[in-house]
């Protein structure tokens, strides 16, 4: 089965007033149908830029290269007209901050309905009916009443559900969710993740999840891509990644999370000294070397390629795995 979305050697360079910034370097991954794939990394790793480049949402100062294949076409070369056909209909996106994504002067029902009328050509009444169904699908209680409300009358969690309803209104093949729960309280977050899981089951939508929260990844992701400084450093199925992390950065991230149940003082949180670098050109050596406990001359001068260290588990590292002197 060929992949639904095939990203190959994607690189994105920005021209800023401080000089060029290499936000993404040679990132490749595939999203299969009905799959939930997570792009994980901290701020500055390039995961959001990657997501934006798929839908052509990068600013004009961005210079993407490589290919993003969807349905046989390379999205990077598309005209804005072609893009508009795809956005919201085949591939849609949900952002972190629902308040700024919704128009404050229109009722939410109308905003979601607009998507239906534009892409599916529905009449106003038909769209209104479908919107109520969609609201029910995403778990908004009393949907018939809610469609008439304005964004500011809804809580953060509700607004995010509205955004998701809008995103899946036309039954897209892919839903890109960029930090969908970061701005929400944890009790609300659980509900949103459940909605996304249900949508995947009921509508068959594939989900590309962008997040920095490994807990969210553990909850909902099937396959995980770990990014650092614009490069993909590890990729594996979720269970495999958490159980057998290979890249020192992944190990560091997992070790840095305090887990409920860890006794104070008994296990110290793992620190990763240093800062996430901002690259001005594609790297020619391991991007993690400055902060890696296993760094040596080789990692500081050569760029590690992705190798399959374990079955279906890829790492870009010269010294991956549990061996090697990680403190």
């Amino acid at each position: 089965m060929s992949a639904l979305l095939d990203v190959r050697d994607l690189s994105v360079r920005f021209v800023t007033e401080d000089g060029p910034v290499q936000a993404v370097s040679d990132v490749s991954f595939q999203l299969e149908e009905k799959q939930v794939l997570a792009l994980v990394g901290e701020s500055g790793c390039g995961k959001s830029v990657t997501a934006m480049s798929i839908l052509g949402l990068l600013p004009t100062s961005a210079d993407p290269s490589g290919s993003v294949s969807f349905d046989g076409h390379n999205m990077l070369g598309m005209s804005s007209g072609q893009m508009q056909q795809i956005r919201g209909k085949e591939i849609s996106m949900v952002f972190q901050e629902p308040m700024t994504s919704l128009n404050p002067v229109f009722r939410v029902g109308r905003q979601v309905g607009e998507v239906l009328r534009r892409h599916e050509g529905m009449s106003r009444d038909a769209a209104a009916k479908r919107v109520v169904e969609l609201f029910e699908l995403v778990g908004i209680p009393a949907p018939a009443r809610r469609v008439k409300e304005y964004p500011h009358q809804l809580s953060g969690g509700m607004r995010q559900r509205v955004m998701i309803a809008m995103a899946v209104a036309c039954n897209p093949k892919i839903l890109i969710a960029d930090e969908p729960t970061t701005a929400l309280d944890v009790t609300i977050q659980a509900g949103i993740l459940d909605v996304m899981r249900d949508l995947r089951d009921q509508l068959g939508t594939a989900v590309l999840l962008i997040t920095h929260d490994l807990g969210v990844v553990a909850d909902i992701a099937e396959r995980v891509v770990v990014m650092y400084a614009g490069r993909k450093v590890e990729e594996a199925d979720a269970g495999e990644l958490f159980a057998h992390p290979q890249h020192p950065y992944t190990m560091g991230l997992l070790g840095a999370i305090p887990r409920v149940g860890s006794m104070r003082g008994e296990s110290r949180l793992q620190e990763i000294p240093g800062l996430v670098p901002s690259l001005s050109a594609p790297p020619d050596h391991c991007v993690f070397a400055p902060r890696c406990p296993r760094a040596d001359d080789r990692t500081r001068s050569e760029l590690p390629a992705l190798t399959e260290e374990r079955p279906d588990h890829f790492v870009a590292c010269f010294y991956p795995g549990e061996r090697g002197g990680a403190k």
Binding site: D185, A190, H212, L214, G215, G239, L269
Partner: protein, 338 residues
């Protein structure tokens, strides 16, 4: 039994909301009757989601806000309604680390000036001695000396937060209030700041009020934990007891909602899913403020407000459904832990 460093009784803070959508002069019941005490050297975690009032509580204790009612007693002195001038001597005994490293440092002062400010203001050190003290503080929080002459915007989030901590601890206060000090930081940076706080607390022995929304960081750092919901404390217990045996339905749902970074465990958990939204603090529900979302709500809870009661072992709960010796309904059968 040594005297507590901080004692808060019946603290209330209500804000006036003028005009807007609501009717005239509506109140936001941000903090609604909070009582707690912190012993010397103890770390008390204050956990809650949005609208819980935890940050407002912290600011009231810090006297950045003036409480509407109740008392705040620091080292035996009532500081509840002191004027700014009279508060100043007490400021040597307590200080605060703020949540946002990007807005809590004056962009026009160098980091060295910021860290040295409390020492200077209280006349403790000046001239070259001030420089030495600042250097020591920078060392203590793991910052290189050359950063003293840099401005905050030249530092990373983690470094800025260290500056904030150095400044807060410069006068060796008895009480440190940390208002979500790691929430705005990346995961790997969070770890180093948390480790730093743990080390410093052990070394300097200050009492700490640690405000957070993340239960796992609270468990890592705190001795006791208080859970807040809509301006009230609903549960307060020693750390181990709270995590092993949460009694209040809200605490249980909160714990249940925190995702465990282990896919197998996380996906096989049976979780409590709360219905509905967090009500607005402008319009808190009658009776038990949690009743609108409580999975085991009973009629009585809608009318009568539960009181925070001691059920043994330093464990306090505000719930009608918890028995006098602490028998509490379990919402899900699950073991938290390793």
């Amino acid at each position: 039994m040594t005297a507590p460093v901080l004692e808060v009784t019946g603290l209330k803070k209500h804000f006036q909301v003028s005009g807007r959508l609501s009717a005239t002069g509506e109140l936001v019941y941000a903090v609604d009757d909070v009582s707690l005490a912190i012993a010397p050297g103890e770390v008390l975690g204050l956990v809650g989601e949005s609208g819980s009032g935890k940050s407002t509580t912290a600011r009231c204790i810090m006297r950045l806000l003036e409480p509407t009612a109740g008392t705040v007693t620091l080292l035996g002195q009532d500081i509840t309604h002191l004027s700014r001038q009279h508060m100043r001597p007490h400021r040597r005994q307590m200080h605060m680390v703020f949540q946002d490293p990007y807005s809590s440092l004056n962009p026009r002062m160098t980091c060295g000036q910021l860290v040295g400010q409390p020492l200077e203001l209280h006349g403790i050190a000046g001239g070259s001695e001030l420089g030495d003290r600042v250097q020591d503080l920078f060392d203590k929080v793991g910052l290189g000396d050359q950063l003293r002459h840099r401005f905050p915007h030249e530092l990373s989030g983690g470094q800025r937060q260290r500056v904030g901590i150095a400044r807060a601890l410069s006068l060796r206060p008895n009480l440190l209030i940390a208002d979500e000090p790691v929430s705005a930081l990346d995961v790997s940076v969070q770890a180093s700041i948390l480790n730093l706080l743990v080390d410093l607390q052990e070394e300097m022995g200050f009492a700490c009020l640690f405000v957070a929304h993340d239960l796992s960081t609270v468990e890592y750092f705190c001795h006791r934990v208080a859970v807040m919901y809509l301006g009230k404390i609903v549960e307060l217990a020693p750390r181990d007891r709270l995590f092993a045996d949460p009694k209040h339905p809200y605490t249980q749902s909160l714990l249940s909602a925190v995702p465990v970074p282990d896919p197998e465990v996380q996906r096989s958990r049976r979780r409590v899913v709360l219905q509905g939204d967090i009500p607005s603090p402008m319009n808190p529900p009658s009776g038990c403020s949690f009743h609108t979302r409580c999975p085991i709500v009973e009629e009585r809870n809608k009318v009568e407000e539960p009181v925070l009661r001691d059920v043994g072992g330093g464990h306090q709960v505000a719930c009608h459904l918890v028995g006098p010796s602490g028998e509490a309904p379990k919402l899900v059968e699950e073991k938290q832990g390793v």
